[in-house]
């Protein structure tokens, strides 16, 4: 009799386990380095104080050029708007853990829509002078509990050209602050320790509007649309993208598995949803909105950028989701991609299908739980509590206010 009871119990358990396993068949939960970090709720874990800067630092700039709301650097504007109405905001600076300076320094655009970084250092410097004279909190720590959103090409180095950016280095006044930036490359001057890497802004409504039914079969093997040679600035190639994009073109332009071209199709988003792999090579800077688009549309990103630091790298296990290809291995890209076992590819697709993964890459308006704003706050919360050593003793000064190129010292 007892034996039958045990057999029955085992059978029931096995049945229950198989049902549970089947539930997990479709999407897999992403487990970050510290458990399900993507699902964390930052509310209650930190308090942010938003400085009241005169509107010439934010609103007036936006009024002059409303294109800033839709380009890939728009994260700084939406972060400000999110913080103004978020429950983590506090109006009492004494209890704040973090201080935010709302400055839209990437909003000085050329007629073509590209941001000019030449005035940004001066603007930043002027705003820091303002907050250090009007509030005591900057001088208390020299900015160690302040954070700034710097979504420009090379972050706080404020230049679009890599050599110039490296030469300038991070703005000296921001040495102690936490930088929230899109740029990330290991051992690079423009990525400092403790920065939070975020995805570039991609318009969520536009991507939502171009969804196609999920049962449309994925029939494109590799997809890419974009420049291979930047003929205006680097006609011979070899400079742009460190020659990686040109290598992709030269090696695979006549390969039928690779759907790559410089066209601007209207069905760009739809095509991504019909592709298995989407190339995300570096350009002038290693990051690009293609990563966000690939994740949202379920296309496995093939990242060709040596030493890149991807957004929220401490929360998202990018190795399991994307495929990393060294720039020197680009000529063998087809061998690399076809030698991935199908089970691995299916697993990556299941991880990408996880809605929390897609949410974490977007900046929706209004904000939703689990989106990129919350991941930034999670990242800031993980850095708490502040070490006692950041509080300076009275009279102690670390920052050199006159460091940097002479042009930066001019008032803005």
């Amino acid at each position: 009799m007892k034996i039958w009871m045990w057999i029955f119990a085992a059978f029931v358990l096995g049945f229950a386990w198989s049902i549970a396993a089947e539930q997990g068949l479709r999407t897999e939960r992403i487990s970050g380095s510290a458990g399900d970090v993507l699902e964390d709720d930052p509310v209650g874990r930190l308090k942010v104080y938003v400085y009241e800067l005169p509107s010439k630092y934010n609103k007036k700039i936006l009024q002059k050029d409303p294109r800033c709301l839709t380009h890939m650097f728009a994260a700084e504007i939406y972060m400000h708007r999110f913080l103004l109405s978020s429950p983590v905001r506090t109006l009492n600076p004494e209890e704040a853990d973090w201080f935010y300076t709302p400055i839209y320094e990437t909003c000085d655009l050329t007629p073509n829509g590209l941001p000019l970084p030449f005035k940004s250092p001066r603007m930043m410097r002027s705003s820091i002078q303002l907050i250090s004279t009007n509030w005591p909190y900057w001088n208390r720590t020299e900015g160690a509990d302040h954070f700034f959103v710097v979504p420009h090409d090379f972050g706080a180095c404020f230049h679009y050209q890599e050599e110039k950016a490296i030469e300038r280095g991070i703005l000296p006044l921001l040495q102690r602050a936490t930088l929230v930036q899109t740029f990330g490359q290991q051992n690079h001057v423009c990525l400092k320790e403790g920065s939070i890497t975020i995805p570039p802004y991609a318009p969520p409504q536009k991507m939502q509007a171009h969804q196609i039914p999920p049962d449309t079969p994925r029939s494109i093997f590799v997809y890419f649309r974009g420049l291979f040679y930047d003929v205006n600035n680097d006609p011979e190639g070899g400079y742009y993208a460190r020659g990686a994009r040109a290598a992709v073109w030269e090696n695979f332009k006549s390969n039928p598995l690779f759907d790559i071209s410089t066209d601007h199709p209207t069905t760009y988003y739809e095509d991504m949803q019909r592709a298995i792999f989407c190339l995300c090579p570096l350009g002038w800077a290693p990051w690009s909105p293609r990563l966000v688009e690939a994740v949202v549309f379920g296309c496995i990103p093939v990242i060709i950028a040596d030493d890149i630091v991807l957004p929220f790298a401490d929360a998202i296990p990018w190795e399991e989701i994307g495929v990393f290809v060294a720039e020197e291995a680009v000529p063998n890209l087809d061998t690399i991609l076809t030698s991935i076992p199908p089970e691995v590819i299916l697993r990556k697709q299941r991880l990408l299908a996880n809605p929390s993964m897609k949410r974490a890459m977007l900046f929706p308006q209004p904000a939703q739980p689990g989106d990129a704003f919350h991941q930034i706050l999670n990242g800031l919360a993980r850095k708490l509590p502040h070490d006692k050593s950041i509080y300076l003793k009275p009279g102690e000064k670390i920052l050199n206010w006159t460091a940097g190129p002479v042009g930066d010292l001019k008032p803005w």
Partner: protein, 505 residues
């Protein structure tokens, strides 16, 4: 991201590189600007600039490509994992010619300022492998990956609990049978669900049809119907209806379970149709596009009804605004009165029936003698009148029909009746045995006049009475000769054939 200020950026880069601190060039030129090496490089630089100005492009790349191409490119392919040190070395080789001296020495500069970064800024070579073509083994693997991904997509998003598709096709042996039946067969072979194909043949089971459908690899039931196909379209339609009912009786006898659809062998089906019919519960209807082969000699009619002629007639369910079945779109045969074909060989248009059988799908359980949940609005198959025109006669109440394909808005199959004349002949099994011979010498040959006769291997000439396709000669040469261009020309004599053969050799 990058500004299109060409001159500005180039100037910036150039002046920058000269200004950049550190590096062997600068250190050497720091103190002794007048050192002979520096002067030499300066002069060489100026010379190369002048040459480039004259030529219009940087020729240094070409020079180094020719000088170093074999060694470096094969290096690049053979050793994909190269350290940055090697990279710096090759780049030095490439950019030794100092049209841009600052560049080559920028690399160690950057290495110093960038803290131990493995990635170097500056001009990199574009790696191209020497054999650019795709490896066929890899292409196969990629296709297997694609197929696996699509299978997974079907499992996740496709139809749950797919039912067997039972396809009913009436057919008979004729010239166009191979054409039509092969088309249907290939469509059915692509269907991702289980399939049973019931082929009903007028005139009894024949070897030709059997051989044809055996190639499909599908589960087929080949049934013969002991009546020969008549010569008028009206009679043919009636006979085909009877054959379909016969097939439904087979479904009932064998208790086949699934969805019954009618695939006439002259119809064209899209794959979405088979996905859509899985949604049927008991009795469904889809829209059929009618491709009426219009006679060209009726221009008067065209002027009258221009707008109607532009739109393709559709047969199928019609829905009201709440997507409920409200009626039927049927084929309007009024414009074709008096011009429609009556007999097979008529020149007139072949018209479809009011409602084609192929536009309906039904659950096979409706045909069974005893199924538990069989609805009461279906008549028993045995009691059906033999002259039923469409499966609607199986229903007591036509309003229970489910409209499929987003309420008939999607057209997923097309009807077109094209048949050869009743007396047309075709080679049995479409195998030409014995091989055809040449008919008459062609008056306009594509190749020049033949030199004198040379001994030929095999004999050639034959005559065919009609201007049908003429093929040439022997098996060895037939492939070269039978091209589409020469369909209407007669072939040449054996002398010219042999000479051409000789010329080609």
């Amino acid at each position: 991201m990058k500004l299109s200020m060409l001159q500005q950026s180039y100037l910036n880069r150039r002046t920058n590189s000269f200004r950049s601190a550190g590096g062997p060039l600068d250190s050497s030129s720091d103190g002794a600007i007048k050192s002979p090496a520096a002067i030499f490089w300066l002069v060489l630089h100026g010379l190369c600039c002048l040459i480039s100005l004259v030529l219009g492009f940087r020729f240094s790349r070409l020079v180094f490509f020719f000088l170093f191409s074999t060694s470096t490119s094969s290096n690049m392919y053979a050793s994909p994992f190269r350290s940055s040190v090697e990279l710096v070395k090759t780049l030095d080789v490439h950019s030794v010619l100092p049209t841009n001296p600052g560049k080559s020495f920028e690399l160690p500069v950057v290495n110093k300022t960038a803290t131990n970064s493995r990635v170097v800024v500056g001009r990199h070579g574009i790696r191209i492998r020497p054999w650019p073509h795709p490896n066929p083994g890899e292409v196969m693997k990629a296709h297997q990956i694609i197929e696996r991904v699509q299978r997974e997509q079907r499992v996740q998003f496709g139809v749950k609990d797919a039912r067997t598709v039972i396809v009913v096709t009436p057919t008979y042996v004729r010239t166009f049978q191979t054409l039509h039946l092969t088309g249907v067969m290939h469509s059915l072979m692509l269907v991702p669900y289980d399939l049973v194909w019931i082929v009903v043949e007028a005139g009894g089971v024949s070897n030709e049809t059997a051989a044809l459908i055996r190639k499909s690899g599908l589960r087929t039931i080949h049934v013969g119907f002991n009546q020969r196909i008549p010569n008028s379209w009206e009679e043919r339609h009636k006979l085909e209806s009877k054959m379909r009912l016969h097939a439904l009786r087979v479904v009932r006898e064998r208790k086949l379970d699934g969805i019954v659809m009618f695939a006439d062998d002259s119809n064209m089906h899209s794959m979405e149709l088979f996905d859509e019919i899985q949604n049927v519960k008991w009795f469904g209807a889809v829209s059929v596009g009618i491709l009426v082969h219009s006679d060209n000699s009726d221009e008067s009619d065209q002027k009258q009804g221009e707008e109607e002629n532009q739109r393709m007639p559709i047969q199928g369910p019609a829905c009201n605004s709440s997507n409920m079945l409200a009626g039927w779109h049927t084929f309007n045969s009024l414009p074709y009165l008096g011009r429609s074909a009556v007999y097979i060989d008529d020149k007139g248009t072949v018209l479809p029936r009011k409602l084609e059988w192929s536009g309906f799908v039904l659950n096979s359980r409706l045909l069974w003698k005893d199924a538990e949940d069989k609805p009461n609005w279906v008549k028993d198959l045995d009691l059906l009148d033999e002259d039923s025109d469409s499966p609607l006669s199986l229903l007591k109440d036509a309003s229970v029909v489910e409209p499929l394909g987003s309420c008939g808005r999607q057209v997923m199959l097309w009807w077109l009746r094209v048949e050869a004349r009743a007396d047309s002949k075709f080679p049995p099994g479409w195998i030409i045995d014995p091989p055809l011979d040449i008919t008459v010498p062609s008056k306009r040959t594509p190749w020049p006049d033949a030199p004198p006769e040379l001994p030929s291997n095999e004999k050639v000439v034959i005559n065919l009475p009609e201007p049908t396709v003429k093929h040439t000669t022997t098996k060895t040469r037939s492939r070269k000769r039978s091209s589409r261009k020469r369909k209407h020309e007669a072939k040449t004599t054996d002398t010219q054939v042999s000479t051409r053969h000789q010329e080609q050799n």
